[in-house]
Amino acid sequence: MSLQEINVKIFRYDPEADVEPRFDSFTVPVIKNMAILDVVMYVQNYVDKTLAFRCSCRIGMCGSCAMYINGRPRLACRTQVSSLGTPDITIMPLPNLPIIRDLATDMEPFFEKWKKIKPFYVGKSELKDPVAIRPDSGEREFIDQMLDCITCGCCYGACSMVATNEEYLGPAALNRAYTLIADKRDAIRVERLKAVGRSYGVWRCHDQFNCAEVCPKKLVPTKSIQQLKKRCVLQKFGVFK
């Protein structure tokens, strides 16, 4: 599909100045391989300099530019205009997060929950670094996949469980917890498991798969959460130590 120009509707809201959010419409000329990030940059550069959004690396690594684009959270830099298949594009800020201004959301609630699972590796004291894990042992096969998370918050914005309960830790934090709990070298696995094995932790997940649906890294946090659920049960029976 080749487009000449697109009609973009952008969510605008400045909590300090506006009483109500509104949508502004812009017509943007399409260039080859144009991404949504190029669209908002065009608007900011040539039409309305007050448009606020966040971005950094522009290559899908930093996870800064997640926005709610035509019905689902996506990374603006990794979403080609042509892939949306329509000249009408609506861009809103990432759901389930407070709005700083326009398309820029405050990621603090997301990272507060990220902190709750102690997102850092704590090595067992008896282990002497470097600890060798043979690549063919398969131990890290699933962990390594799940380490690709860039904390963009797309899954957090897509999750109905987060939307209906602000205490829920959310898919990204639980996925991170899994990568550490499943690591045999980790010293505080049981402590972490107790932090996630609560009603607002893993048990809040209802296998909705919205997180997996929108993840720009094609991760399946639902699977990590299921693995955590399994370990929570095993831990109750004293099998997981």
């Binding site: 969510f11 809201y13 909590p15 959010p21 709610y68 019905g71 689902r72 959270p73 809103m92 800020p93 759901p95 389930n96 997060l97 407070p98 709005i99 700083i100 959301t105 405050d106 914005g157 897509a158 109905s160 939307a163 209802h206 296998d207 909705q208 798969f209 919205n210 997996a212 649906e213 929108v214 399946v220 639902t222 699977k223 299921q226 693995q227 659920k229 399994k230």
Partner: protein, 129 residues
């Protein structure tokens, strides 16, 4: 107390979900049929208990009145549909609980729906014949 910035974001919550995903609708329908089945069970238990409270004659009269009502008679098909959907999607969820099928969740859903449709249509054919 939620901040004003959060309130603005909450107001757009209903149009900020992933509405075009299989998992979302599977979950919504699972919830809706679940609530429907609970309501049905309450009605069912109430009806059955009339036999204890007001005797056999009254129970027979109530049941005859309900089952000869054409609307209620055909609403049974809706009930069967809800049971089939909730049951089959429940099996799909149980598969996830034992660690099977995460990468094939959509395919499993559609396979369950095809199976469910065959089951439901068979019930409709039997009921109408």
């Amino acid at each position: 107390m939620p901040s004003r910035e959060m309130v603005a974001s909450q107001r757009y919550k209903t149009n900020s979900q992933v509405w075009n995903a299989v998992g979302m609708w599977a979950w919504m329908l699972h919830r809706a049929t679940g609530i429907g089945l609970v309501l049905y069970l309450i009605l069912h238990a109430t009806l059955i208990s009339t036999s204890l409270i007001s005797g056999a004659q009254s129970f027979n009269a109530t049941l005859t009145m309900l089952m000869t009502n054409p609307v209620l008679h055909y609403m049974e098909l809706l009930l069967v549909g809800a049971v089939i959907y909730h049951g089959l999607n429940g099996v799909r969820l149980l598969l996830f609980d034992i660690g099977i099928g995460f990468s094939k969740q959509k395919e499993i859903f559609w396979a369950a729906m095809v199976l469910g449709a065959i089951m439901w249509i068979s019930v409709v054919v039997v009921k109408l014949s």
